[in-house]
């Protein structure tokens, strides 16, 4: 068996491609190419990458079954070929970032229940939440929601057989609105028929309830439905249709491809059942985690939802180029704490008073010129600071917390959200983290967040490192709060940024693709202390 697999990812800035060879011994990378994305006609950049990878012409319709060994146009030689070998048409899969992700507005009933599950579902499908609403959807809230121009409204609420009143109210509000995108209904199944009647005339897709019973999460079908909507409504135009015909397959949203790969690694690779991937880009920072959400230790009680085994979060305000201004706004209130956490480590004890101003100017510069590459030591330090700050905040938001509390039966800890402490490996991916080895500072950062933050906070009675433990939300009554971030992970880089490209084949060849993903990781260069 010998098969060529082409994988192409059409990003907003670059179109990337890789050629893999699949033999009885597994999968290997033959070559990788990159070219600027041709915004006005995406198929041109795609075709260029295809031809560079395979030496074959791009164009026309390769038919519905491209992979079944049809004779290919004669090529003198092709990568990895042996003399006299006949060549079957390479198989092609592709992904598209859809302008930084699907824009999803989430509607739920109770914020901590259906709305939170709707968010988890949207993130896992590769979407980003642009607006949300709980309880009854009021006119002003709806108007604000529509101003964020969502592609999809994910409409949830109520258990099956549960709340009808608010769900039907919200359906009527949506029906009366000017929203012309797709409404995905994944709420109380008992009123599904009525909801569909109310929403007649709108584009509506249905999926099973994301929370059929209190606390029970069911998001797989919603995730699939979101991806189908992505195909049907977002792919049209800009040459993607042509690419689709050429390949004979549908594109996958890039983040969903990465999600599939992450899931495959966790399922098939021994020793990889507890890890995180941090994909940091110009526009967003995405965090993926694999592992049990709650470990059931003595004295720890889970409050709220038990989050999924594979979880993805997307932070639209944490990016180092397009979203740099938003990132700086998020960082500012915690600036002293973050400087202590990530700056001193790199630069010794420098906290000059004009540092915030320098960062502010730098942020203005990279926001207006998003392909900017820093050209001085000072700028490189700022870039690195922004990256580490985004990594810190994104991981804190992804992971849960433990809050210490006292009961008649003694001291206990209340856990909210996902416990990332047992995570054994962290993988940095995306432009900056693929290129530069930030293993040491990132591991030290997590070490401080996971241990030092709490202990110091206790000793100093809420001063000192308080800013660190309060990065997300303030502790409600001054009790000690532990952030459940990875405690002692190893660090790796997806140095050739292969994850999205491997992810395109993760559904078909999960075992082979995930093995290659692990093999191509680059470990942290410095020896680990201790």
């Amino acid at each position: 068996m010998r098969e060529e697999l082409v994988s192409i990812d059409i990003g907003s800035t670059y179109t990337k491609g890789a050629l893999f060879l699949r033999t009885g011994e597994g999968l290997r990378l033959v070559q990788r190419v990159i070219t600027p994305t041709t915004q006005e006609d995406l198929s041109r950049g795609f075709g260029k990458v295809y031809t560079q990878l395979t030496g074959l012409p791009y164009g026309g319709n390769r038919g519905k079954e491209p992979c079944e060994g049809k004779a290919a146009p004669a090529a003198e030689s092709f990568p990895g070929s042996k003399e006299g070998e006949t060549r079957a048409t390479p198989r092609v899969r592709f992904s598209s970032s859809a302008k930084g992700g699907l824009r999803i507005a989430a509607i739920g009933l109770v914020p901590d229940l259906t709305l939170q599950i709707a968010r988890l579902a949207a993130w896992s499908a590769g979407g980003k939440i642009v607006a949300d609403s709980s309880y009854k959807l009021r006119e002003d809230r709806l108007a604000g929601m529509l101003r964020t121009s969502p592609d999809i409204v994910l409409f949830t609420g109520g258990t099956d057989g549960g709340n009808e009143e608010t769900v039907l109210w919200n359906a009527r509000q949506l029906a009366a609105s000017s929203f012309s995108g797709t409404i995905l209904y994944a709420g109380n199944a008992s009123v599904r028929g009525e909801v569909l009647r109310i929403l007649e005339g709108k584009r509506v897709v249905v999926a099973p309830n994301v929370m059929p019973r209190v606390g029970e999460i069911r998001i797989e079908e919603t995730r699939e439905a979101i991806q189908r909507i992505f195909l049907d409504t977002i792919v049209e135009g800009k040459g993607l249709k042509q690419v689709r015909e050429f390949c004979g397959t549908d594109p996958v949203p890039t983040p969903a491809a990465v999600f599939d790969l992450v899931e495959a690694i966790g399922t098939y690779q021994e020793g990889w059942d507890r890890f995180c991937v941090i994909d940091l880009g110009g526009a967003t920072t995405d965090v993926y985690s694999v592992g049990e959400s709650f470990w059931g230790e003595d004295g720890v009680v889970l409050k709220g939802l038990r989050e999924p085994w594979v979880k993805r979060t997307v932070e639209g305000d944490l990016g180092i180029r397009v979203s740099a201004a938003a990132l700086w706004d998020t960082v500012k209130p915690f600036f002293p704490a973050l400087v202590r956490l990530v700056w001193e480590e790199a630069e010794g004890n420098i906290t000059s008073s004009d540092l915030p101003l320098k960062i502010h100017r730098y942020v203005e510069k990279v926001t207006s010129e998003t392909s900017y590459v820093p050209d001085s030591e000072g700028e490189k330090r700022i870039d690195r600071f922004l990256v580490l700050a985004a990594v810190a905040i994104a991981t804190l938001r992804h992971g849960g917390t433990l809050e210490e509390t006292y009961t008649p039966a003694g001291r206990i800890f209340l856990q909210t959200g996902k416990d990332l402490r047992p995570v054994q490996a962290l993988i940095g991916s995306g432009g900056y983290l693929s290129l530069f080895d930030l293993g040491k500072p990132i591991r030290e950062l997590f070490h401080r967040l996971a241990t030092g933050g709490l202990e110091a906070g206790r000793v100093e009675g809420g001063k000192g490192t308080r800013g660190e433990s309060d990065l997300l939300r303030s502790s409600s009554h001054g009790s000690a709060r532990i952030h459940l971030v990875p405690k002692n992970p190893s660090y790796f880089r997806d140095a050739s940024y292969l994850f999205p490209l491997l992810g395109n084949y993760a559904k078909e060849y999960p075992e082979e693709v995930s093995r290659l993903a692990i093999e191509t990781l680059v470990p942290e260069s410095n020896d680990r202390p201790g």
């Binding site: 309880y135 109520g158 099956d160 057989g161 008992s190 209190v214 709220g304 206990i412």
Partner: protein, 162 residues
């Protein structure tokens, strides 16, 4: 009548259907930092067998968690247990919180070892009723009786609504 148990449901309540089982939807749990779990499991089995649709939140449940679950499931009643003697403070403001969050007319029951010491039950009952609980039960109550009362109260609430 389909007759799932010895007590047949009253006929003709308008909101009954496959998703509104005859005897109503209830949310169960042990409030506060109380981790007595055995009685809670008994209640779940008992009320399920009696034909109620039970959402059991288990032990160490906060007021808001009860209310969250009641909103999502459109519950008819919340049954609060407390066995460690701190029930009074844990239940303080429960009805007000329900009202604030849109559950004005939800049925609220409370039962267990509600206060520490030898306070006569009638006094305890009075205190909890003043706080807005519809019925208050001592630890040795006959559950059959609670089920009968609950069914009556749910019927009355549903009839009142329609």
């Amino acid at each position: 009548m389909s007759g799932t148990g010895d007590i047949s449901g009253g006929a003709g309540t308008p909101s009954r259907g496959p998703d509104n089982p005859p005897k109503g939807k209830i949310v169960l749990g042990v409030i506060g930092y109380d981790c007595h779990s055995v009685g809670n499991k008994i209640l779940e089995v008992f009320f399920t067998e009696k034909g109620f649709q039970v959402t059991n939140l288990g032990v160490m449940v906060s007021q808001d968690e009860f209310i969250d679950a009641a909103i999502e499931t459109a519950a008819d009643a919340i049954l609060v247990s407390s066995l460690y003697g701190h029930g009074l403070i844990d239940c303080q403001g429960f009805r007000d919180r329900c009202v604030e969050r849109g559950l004005e007319d939800i049925i609220l029951y409370v039962g267990g070892n509600l206060v520490v010491g030898k306070t006569p039950f009638s006094e305890v009952e009075e205190k909890f009723k003043q706080m807005g609980f519809d019925r208050v039960f001592p630890p040795d109550v006959d559950l059959e009786q609670v089920a009968r009362l609950l069914e009556q109260d749910i019927d009355a609430r549903r009839t009142g609504k329609h």
